[in-house]
Amino acid sequence: MEKTTPSVNRRAFLNTLGVTVGGTGLIGAGLVGGSQLLKAAQDPAKGRVPDTPFKTGHMTFLTGAGAVLGEPSIKGHTMAAEEINAQGGLLGKRKIETITADEAAGTDACVKEVRRMKLDAKIDMFTGVISSGTSPAVGPVAEELGLLTILTDGCTDFLFDKAIPNPKYVFRITNIQSSDGITAAIGVAQTWPHVRKIAHIHPDYAYGRNAYEHFTLALERLVPGTEIVSESWPKLFTTDFTAHITKIMSAQPDLLVASVWGGDYVAFYKQALRYGLFDKMKVASTIAFGVAPHAIGKDHPEGVLAGVHSNYYFTYPGGDRWPLNKSFVQRYFKRWNEYPNFQSEGAYMALYLLKSAIERANKLTGGWPEDEAIISQLEGIGIDAPSGYLYMRPDHQAYKDAVTGFSKNLPGYEFASWDPARIITIPIRNITAPLGWPKPGTTHNESTAAANWIKTTWPKVVG
């Protein structure tokens, strides 16, 4: 396939990808015109709407190491439910009630729990899920049960590539996993095109493997001629990284690529700092700042490409440019006395996405809409979110611009955050396989549709 790809200049290719630096992005934002989220339902709902509660089941990590992401998820969900209920509930009538389930119980227990929530607790909608191990397990069950579902993470490509290639009830609001590795690779190509020797450290499970593969695939095209000099595959939820750090340093790489997350990343950077790792190489991460912002200390080194799962960081879009984000962050801080992360925003938006679809369906049909009517409104819906413009593709995978940034200590925060002048945004459609691209196991056997799409369509740049 390589022979057909023309040679392109790197700068030109990054331009065609629409990469912007410095936070001037917000591509496609405001298509809907103004922030709709907090507007009270001015038009009263059409027809008769019951006032029975609308039950949601929110599954996330309530215990164990994953709870570092689970807590923000539940907080985002709760805040959205409180706001909507304060306006009378969905269509001004149905208050949202939430039952929670602990994702830490394991895949089998999660599947059982989804069944129990639907059949026993009679939930109207299922939301949440963080692990890429959980989403492909619960997704097919939700389809089988006919349970309206908006996954707020569990971002593996596998879910819609293989597990449920033709979803009817299951939607997902987070960016696809492969865009994480690709976003990090673009950040590297944009910032440090001269790196040659690359070291990797990734947790040894689906997410780490996916990040490694897609980063490497994209970088091979954006910065040809690099070589991998060291690999580390620590167990997920490891906290001792000293041996990995010494190994990485012994390989003397120019760049370390990491997808270690949550408490693992906090433990990792604290050790790496004292071993002098950050002085010896550049560091690019897919998800370093994905934890709740205050989990990162002031001791975090500056200039690290500190990814946020390519989804959302609370300082972007910043200032007054995107009032929706400003007010979301303020309300979140007021409610929880901390800043939101991408899980908070995803879980928060899942309920507003639902609200919006229900209101649209009500306008068309009157009364409380059937699930089918809500689903048809969710497909292709566009909505303004704190992170920018959110679009739900007809194939149920949400789209929002990928974003990443560089760590910097700003005086206003008690933790390291992003350098506002160096935030990188990329239109998501330019780094994900388009709608209808052949899925793995059809015309190709790559691990993801995205991998096949990159191999087939991206040129290798020169210069």
Partner: protein, 292 residues
């Protein structure tokens, strides 16, 4: 060569902490014949209490040198928890089948893990002020934090102290007598209940100390206890459950094998420890130094 030196030090650092956890687990099993599944969570409590105390200490303006005095309190708090739960929660189950003990200590894991989250929340707690109070040493162009040497030192001292206590004190004789035959020891007039509380307290103290000294080098994070428990089991499977020597040798084997795996066979990092454990089980089902 500098890399090799650092990797050896890294292994000793990991071994120190592992030994503290596994020795406590082994001691408790040796005396009371109970496998305390909550042992890892007690280690986590030690880490959280220490990190919290250090945070309080900094907030109160304690000079960083004084913060070191807080380390024993992290360990002592865990010993205190142990002294309370042994007679109240565990003792009624010694005469029951093992399944009951496993269930009770598994329940204890859930209680401790949830308590940690309720008290300290999901955000990692750090105590790196202790690490930064000591210099960073240069080893042939590489950096190594002196605090890590302190951890290694504490591991060595703890091993020696435990050895002296068990083999060269009157208490140690009582401990071993109870371990070998509880009813005979009781018939000879030993206060077996007291020995049990003491042994459990010491075992918990070791776990708490492990957590206390490791937390400045990493951070106290949710789930750290579960991870520690699994690795501690690998250590005692290799070394032999109930043997102090086994805990020491097991900790060293696990640490050095893990480091070698990370350095030379990164793809096998997860598998290599369990391979060694499986091998030991095949050749010596009771572990290298296990009896019975």
């Amino acid at each position: 060569m500098a890399f090799l030196t650092i990797q050896i030090l890294n292994s000793l650092l990991y071994a120190s902490v592992l030994f503290l956890i596994a020795a406590g687990l082994s001691l408790i099993f040796g005396v009371m014949r109970i496998i305390n599944l909550a042992h890892g969570s007690l280690y986590a409590v030690g880490a959280y209490v220490t990190a919290w105390l250090v945070g309080r200490g900094i907030a109160l303006g304690l000079p960083s040198g004084w913060l070191f005095l807080l380390l024993p309190f992290g360990a002592l708090s865990v010993a205190l928890i142990g002294i309370v739960i042994e007679p109240l929660l565990l003792r009624p189950f010694y005469r029951r089948a093992e399944e009951y003990q496993l269930l009770v200590t598994f329940g204890l894991i859930q209680i401790l893990e949830d308590s940690i989250r309720l008290i300290w929340g999901g955000t990692p707690l750090s105590a790196d002020a202790l690490m930064d109070a000591l210099p960073i040493i240069h080893v042939g162009g590489l950096l190594y934090p002196a605090y890590n040497l302190v951890v290694i030192g504490i591991g060595v001292v703890a091993a020696l102290a435990l050895w002296v206590a068990i083999y060269h004190t009157k208490f140690g004789v009582m401990l071993r007598a109870t371990s070998q035959d509880r009813r005979m020891a009781s018939a000879l007039g030993l206060n077996v209940g007291l020995v049990y509380v003491m042994a459990f307290g010491i075992g918990c103290f070791m776990a708490g100390l492990g957590g206390a000294i490791v937390v400045p080098t990493q951070a106290a994070v949710l789930g750290m206890g579960i991870d520690a428990l699994v690795i501690a089991f690998v250590v005692v499977v290799i070394g032999g459950l109930g043997s102090l020597k086994g805990a020491l040798v097991g900790a060293l084997v696990v640490s050095f094998v893990r480091t070698a795996g990370i350095q030379f066979f990164p793809e096998l990092e997860l598998a290599v420890l369990y391979l060694i454990a499986a091998l030991v089980l095949l050749v010596r089902p009771t572990g290298l130094f296990g009896t019975a």
